[in-house]
């Protein structure tokens, strides 16, 4: 028990005794003591608040890093993430472009193989003489060689286009680090400034159940998320689809 409480308790006991004894002078005196100690509690509380305010202001000084994050690093991060979108998009188009170039080459190779097969068959049943067959084979072989070389070159380009993963991976790691740092600073800020915030405010957030969220990360075990096409089909058929 601290001194202030002790004084109050003593005064309260004395006040009760004075009231029981009808001692008006003593009653007034004890009431005065109680009021004064109450006022002194108020002064102490104000002093405590002042100290907290002072500490808070000092902490704001410390959080200059948060301001730097907001003003400089966040816009920079937006640029970085846009760079990721642009780089992945370019790589995907480059890959698709080489595939578009390659597919007709494979069709032509298939066609050439069919023609060789047919010529070989005609040669064997003697519908085609050796000279004719030889000249046809000589006309097919360069196609096979050229197309195979082109397909090889296109596939190598497709491999090179996957280099985006290294570049974007590095940028995304930087962003992850930054988000971690911002999180740490915000937690600190909430600790300093958020002591008196009503805890109920976090429950007021309304969630739109059909808000678009993109791909679900860590969805396993979440009964509200379907994990593949089969589960979607099952749900739709249960709805009479």
């Amino acid at each position: 028990m601290d001194t202030s409480n002790h004084v109050q308790l003593e005064a309260a006991r004395a006040l009760v005794t004075a009231l029981e004894n009808n001692d008006e002078q003593q009653v007034e005196q004890q009431l005065l003591i109680l009021t004064q100690s109450q006022e002194s509690d108020l002064f102490q509380e104000v002093g405590k608040l002042t100290r907290e305010l002072h500490d808070s202001l000092n902490n704001f000084d410390v959080d200059a890093r948060l301001i730097d994050l907001t003003e400089n690093e966040m816009p920079d991060t937006r640029d970085r993430l846009n760079f990721v979108i642009k780089t992945t998009e370019d790589a995907a188009h480059k890959t698709l472009g080489f595939i578009d170039q390659t597919l007709p080459l494979t069709s032509e190779l298939k066609q050439t193989a069919e023609q060789i097969d047919e010529s070989w068959h005609r040669f064997r049943i003697k519908e085609m003489n050796a000279d004719e067959f030889q000249s046809l084979i000589e006309s097919y072989l360069p196609i096979v060689k050229q197309h195979s070389e082109q397909i090889h070159a296109n596939l190598s380009e497709i491999i090179m286009a996957q280099g985006f993963q290294d570049i974007t991976g590095q940028v995304i790691r930087q962003v992850i680090d930054l988000v971690g740092e911002v999180e740490g600073n915000l937690v600190q800020l909430v600790k300093v400034a958020g002591k008196h915030i009503d805890n109920n405010t976090k429950d007021n957030k309304k969630v739109d159940p059909i808000k678009a969220e993109g791909p679900q990360i860590n969805a396993e075990g979440n009964p509200n998320v379907l994990n593949n096409q089969d589960e979607v089909d099952d749900l739709l058929s249960s709805l009479g689809f």
């Binding site: 998009e89 995907a92 188009h93 698709l96 578009d100 159940p209 059909i210 678009a212 969220e213 993109g214 791909p215 679900q216 969805a219 009964p223 509200n224 998320v225 379907l226 994990n227 593949n228 096409q229 979607v232 749900l235 739709l236 709805l239 689809f241």
Partner: protein, 124 residues
């Protein structure tokens, strides 16, 4: 048969366009969200709509609702191709009258299967 492909990512539009071409649908048009798709649909000439859900501007679910609410477009087959996989979303899409729902990433076989099913239902 002219198909409108709506997706905000050009690579996904290209992938869907290529897959549709392999399935014999050579006549396609593209839009990057609901706001640009709707005028194209209203101008006429589109027979089939393939749309993503999550797009800036107008989202796919709102495009679907707008199509169903427009008397000239209300019977158009709509296939949704999306990464949105929440139970409520799929229920809402079904209630809004979607004809097929494909989740990304998807395969060429899934796309063919869903398109075939949509045409089977239309024909029957």
């Amino acid at each position: 048969m002219k198909i409108l492909i709506v997706d905000d990512f050009s690579t996904m539009r290209r992938i869907i366009k290529n897959l549709l071409r392999d399935l014999g649908f050579n006549n396609t048009e593209e839009a990057d969200d609901g706001l640009t798709a709707l005028p194209i649909l209203q101008a006429g000439g589109i027979d089939f709509l393939v749309t993503d859900w999550n797009m800036p501007g107008m989202q796919g679910i709102d495009l679907l609702k707008a199509v169903r609410a427009d008397e000239n477009l209300s019977s158009m087959p709509v296939l949704m191709v999306t990464a949105e996989t929440k139970r409520e979303q799929i229920i809402v899409a079904a209630q809004a009258g979607v004809n097929g729902y494909i989740v990304k990433p998807f395969t060429a076989a899934t796309l063919k299967d869903k398109i075939d099913k949509i045409f089977e239902r239309i024909d029957s």
